[in-house]
Amino acid sequence: MFSQSRRNLLVVFLTLLVIFEMVAYVTTTPRPREQFFQLYVLGANRLLSDYYPNNDPNIGVGDLVRWHVGVTDSMGSAQLVVIRIKLANQTIGPPDDLQAQPSPAPLITEFRRFIQDNETWEMPFFWQIVNADMPEGSTRILEMQINNETYQVPGLTAVDGYNFRVILELWTWEPQSGTLQFGWSSGNERRVAWLQVWFNMTSSARQ
């Protein structure tokens, strides 16, 4: 029926068709990519330095600490992110990376925002201790001010005022379960992002 040359032509055309349609498929299909968030804290000048007033981690009552907290969404879609601020001492455990469990430290406040893919949300995080008392040999933080709002701290004490820390946890909205979760799901994995910054509040800082 077909001559040899026409048969060859048909084979060439079909081969080229398959190649070009594969190119069309690859260009129109979004490629899967790694899904993650980035959480960071910068100092007063939005650099990885100057985290404390006069670079002294020994903070006194009323010393304003200026940080900038940021989150970048690389999940491939819009997300609701919640940054939870917790205050801990040396004995309270940090978040558990392996079990994806948040820190049991008391929650001071939280900040919520919807961000779209490849967007970075950065906000000023200015805080100070506004009320603390010093029973014998220890320091107890009673009130903390964050971005001009005052929050009570449920009795957090440290021996001699050493090793307090601010913990920042990243929580996200999980549409499947309809709840907020610590960290996020990437495929079958759970991943978490959190930061902690240590500070002291010794008697010398209070004078």
């Binding site: 032509l9 190119v23 879609s77 449920p154 909205w173």
Partner: protein, 167 residues
């Protein structure tokens, strides 16, 4: 009547109840036992799902940015409203604004989902049709090249010269 001890106790109890209700409202500092938000309100949740659907349908970055802006505006108004006492008229006004924003967002997200899915479908069809046309043109190029090569080979064959062997 004023000397009645039962009546005084009753008045004292009424004042205690009123103070218990009013004191937390007048306190300047936030409650120490801050209740974390574990769930989004259903309206936010459904609006957010619509944004995801518009994104999945192929809405552009600029289009999604408009939706996210509306979501954040509604979230900010909701945060402001929750700080006010439930009986406050301003709270009701803010919550009405939240509903208004979310309704606008839902309409826009539905419209975007439709236009984005149509655009994505058109782009896909154009890409596959272009692939077919490109394959056809490439086949024509192959045929033309084969034809030119054959002609060149025939020409070279007829240009050949035969020389006698020199001993």
């Amino acid at each position: 009547m004023e000397g009645d001890p039962m009546l005084r106790i009753r008045w004292f109890l009424v004042i205690c109840v009123v103070l218990t209700i009013l004191l937390p409202l007048t306190a300047e500092t936030s409650s120490s036992a801050l209740q974390p938000t574990e769930e989004l309100q259903p309206r936010f949740s459904s609006a957010f799902a619509l944004v995801h659907r518009a994104e999945a349908a192929g809405a552009t970055r600029e289009e999604v940015a408009g939706l996210v802006l509306l979501l954040n505006k509604a979230l900010r108004l909701d945060d402001e409203a929750t700080k006010l006492p439930t009986s406050d008229a301003q709270r009701a006004a803010l919550l009405a604004q939240v509903d208004e924003n979310l309704a606008a967002l839902e309409t826009e997200a539905n419209r975007l989902e439709l236009t984005a899915s149509q655009r994505t479908f058109t782009n896909r069809v154009v890409a596959y049709v272009t692939g077919g046309i490109a394959a056809f043109l490439a086949t024509l190029a192959y045929v033309f090249t084969a034809y030119v090569l054959r002609k060149y080979r025939i020409k070279r064959t007829f240009q050949m010269r035969i020389f006698p062997k020199v001993k």
